[in-house]
């Protein structure tokens, strides 16, 4: 099993959710986050006063999936979240040791 974490542009959430649902992903966790990567912060001007935007608002989505879905999930997120412009985000993939559904006590694949 894998845990896929992706940082995406906030307005891309709906497209990413639809793309993941389409390949059979059962659940997603979304968090509003702030951060910077290559896009970094930038200087903006507000009424003659400069300010630096260090952290840009992003969404972090977390998806737990069976290993065989990994390639499809990555492809789905990549396609859906892509605008071609700097700041589209990143995808991180982790090994997932164990999953437990709290209500029933089912574990691993059955709990996904």
């Amino acid at each position: 099993m894998k845990l896929v974490t992706a940082i995406i542009k906030p307005f891309k959430l709906d497209e990413v959710r639809e793309a993941l649902s389409a390949i059979g992903v059962q659940g997603i966790t979304v968090t509003e986050v702030k951060g910077f990567g290559r896009q970094k912060g930038h200087t903006e001007l507000y009424r003659g006063a400069e300010y630096v935007v260090d952290f840009l608002p992003k969404l972090k989505i977390e998806v737990a999936i069976k290993s065989e879905l990994l390639e499809a999930a990555i492809e789905a997120i990549e396609k859906a979240a892509n605008t071609g412009k700097i700041g589209d985000g990143k995808i991180f993939v982790y090994e997932l040791e164990k999953v437990i559904r709290i209500r029933t006590g089912e574990v691993d694949a059955a709990a996904l």
């Binding site: 001007l45 009424r47 003659g48 006063a49 300010y51 630096v52």
Partner: protein, 504 residues
């Protein structure tokens, strides 16, 4: 207990003041409405001719105020109060960060009240009674002599028409709101970091030494009824304020209100220093909805401010009204257009600021220019003040938090100068009388009038700037202008007032 004693002492003082005032009212009350506030208690006129003229005038029954004028001026006064609390407070309150909302509202609310009290104690007397060319006198301390309850008689103030007086108390109230809102305007420049007590002490000094004298210099004169013959014209002129004598035109307060407060704001922004995080963090308005409501109420209230400054419900009031309406609409459009062109997106803050810029610029011009003037002044104000809060602001390098200088001083100067242009009857302006006895047209040339206007602007800028600098320094050395850095980061709502605007 100590406080209670202080209150009692003050109340006693006030009572003594008014009681002695009533004694002095009697001999002056039966004089004909000599128009100007001070004229009622004026010393005997030196010129013998003038005395004869006065004697003739006394034979006629004293003119009484027009009820329509009185009703309009009372309404206007209430409208100007609405411009400050709530309108200015909301306009400013929306532009600060949420943690400083209440501090902004509180400062406006309390300063408005403070100045109103000072106005009735000595401010009115200092601004609108006879003194020298710079300051008035102390004849009207605690408004003594304005009402004689024994006889049921009220003293009269001048309007701009002969034989058309106004109850002086109505004039006192109307002008009180001007003094109070001017002091409130300054607060935007030092918002989000000033110590509450420092603000109040500064305002007392600045109001006394800058607002009152400039109001006297620009607006004090003996009124049209004092000009009883050609011979007294020079004598009566010499008793007016300095800038009035120069022939500077300021219908409702371009110099007195806007340049005055804008300059005091800028000096404050320099002396108090930049906000923590300025130039690095985004110090954004937290609620532009409040700002829009504030700007809209300002626009509404400004009809009292400008059209009320005609002091009568007449055609000039109507002219000032439509000019105020039209120039503001023009400025909203030009600021919005300018922002769309130069920034890419027209903002709500821009439209609201444009409205205020237009209102400010038309203030000195309102009853002094024709419709063409309103178009040009409004359109120019939107663009020039847009530069004032962007290009000029970057050059000035001061953290004028809510752009008091960029909008009020810049807009006020623009309006004051253009008043000198569009007062020209050949450009649709009404002109002004050359002297108040002969009442011939006094407008000479655009060049000459603009020069006069520029001199008035210069005096206001220097006077206000110097007084403000001294006052801020005094306050800084005694109680300190700024809150601590920790308090500033925490927000003045909690740090200074112990409450929060929003509990979510």
């Amino acid at each position: 207990m100590k406080r209670l004693l202080a209150v009692l002492a003050l109340a006693g003082f006030v009572f003594a003041g008014t009681a002695s005032a009533q004694d002095k009212t009697a001999p002056t009350a039966d004089k004909p409405a000599a128009a100007a506030p001070a004229a009622a208690e004026a010393k005997p006129a030196p010129a013998v001719e003038a005395k004869k003229e006065e004697a003739k005038a006394e034979a006629k029954p004293a003119p009484t105020p027009n009820k329509g004028d009185t009703a309009w001026m009372l309404t206007s006064t209430a409208l100007v109060l609405m411009m400050s609390v709530p309108a200015l407070a909301l306009f400013y309150g929306g532009m600060v960060r949420s943690k400083n909302t209440l501090s902004m509202l509180m400062q406006v609310f309390v300063v408005f009240s403070l100045v109103t009290v000072l106005w009735c104690i000595y401010g009115y007397s200092l601004a609108f009674t006879e003194g020298n060319a710079y300051f008035g006198g102390f004849d009207r301390l605690f408004l003594k002599g304005t009402f004689d309850p024994a006889k049921g008689e009220f003293s009269m103030a001048a309007t701009f028409s002969k034989g058309t007086p106004l109850y002086e108390l109505v004039f006192v109230a109307f002008q009180a709101t001007f003094a109070a809102i001017t002091c409130c305007l300054v607060l935007g420049a030092i918002a989000e970091r000033a110590k509450f007590s420092a603000v109040l002490v500064f305002i007392v000094i600045w109001f006394t030494l800058a607002y009152a004298p400039i109001a006297h210099m620009v607006w004090f004169w003996l009124g049209p009824d004092a000009y009883t013959s050609a011979k007294v014209v020079d004598e009566m002129n010499a008793k007016a304020g300095l800038l009035w004598q120069w022939g500077a035109l300021d219908f409702a307060g371009g110099t007195v209100v806007h340049i005055n407060s804008g300059v005091a704001g800028l000096v404050g922004a320099y002396l108090i220093g930049k906000r923590v995080g300025y130039g690095k963090e985004a110090l954004m308005p937290h609620n532009l909805t409040l700002t829009m409501i504030g700007a809209a109420l300002l626009w509404t209230g400004w009809f009292g401010f400008n059209a009320g400054s005609a002091l009568e419900a007449n055609g000039i009031a109507g002219l000032a009204f439509i000019n105020t309406y039209l120039a503001t609409a023009c400025a909203v459009l030009s600021w919005t257009f300018g922002e769309a062109v130069f920034k890419g997106k027209p903002s709500m803050l821009g439209a609201a600021s444009g409205a205020v810029a237009g209102l400010v610029a038309i203030t000195p011009a309102a009853g002094n220019v024709g419709i063409a003037g309103a178009f040009v002044i409004g359109l120019a104000a939107g663009l020039v003040c847009l530069w004032g809060v962007n290009g000029l602001k970057r050059v000035l390098r001061a953290d004028d938090s809510l752009d008091v200088f960029g909008v009020h001083a810049v807009g006020g100067i623009l309006g004051a100068l253009l008043t000198g242009v569009f007062n020209d009857p050949s450009l649709g302006g009404p002109g002004f009388p050359n002297n108040w006895f002969e009442m011939k047209p006094g407008f000479e040339s655009i060049g000459a009038q603009v020069l006069t206007q520029a001199k008035a602007v210069g005096v206001t800028v220097l006077w206000s700037g110097i007084v403000a600098a001294i006052a801020y320094k005094l306050v800084d050395l005694t109680i300190g202008l700024r809150v601590s850095e920790d308090e500033e980061r925490e927000g003045l709502d909690v740090a200074s007032h112990g409450e929060a605007a929003y509990r979510l």
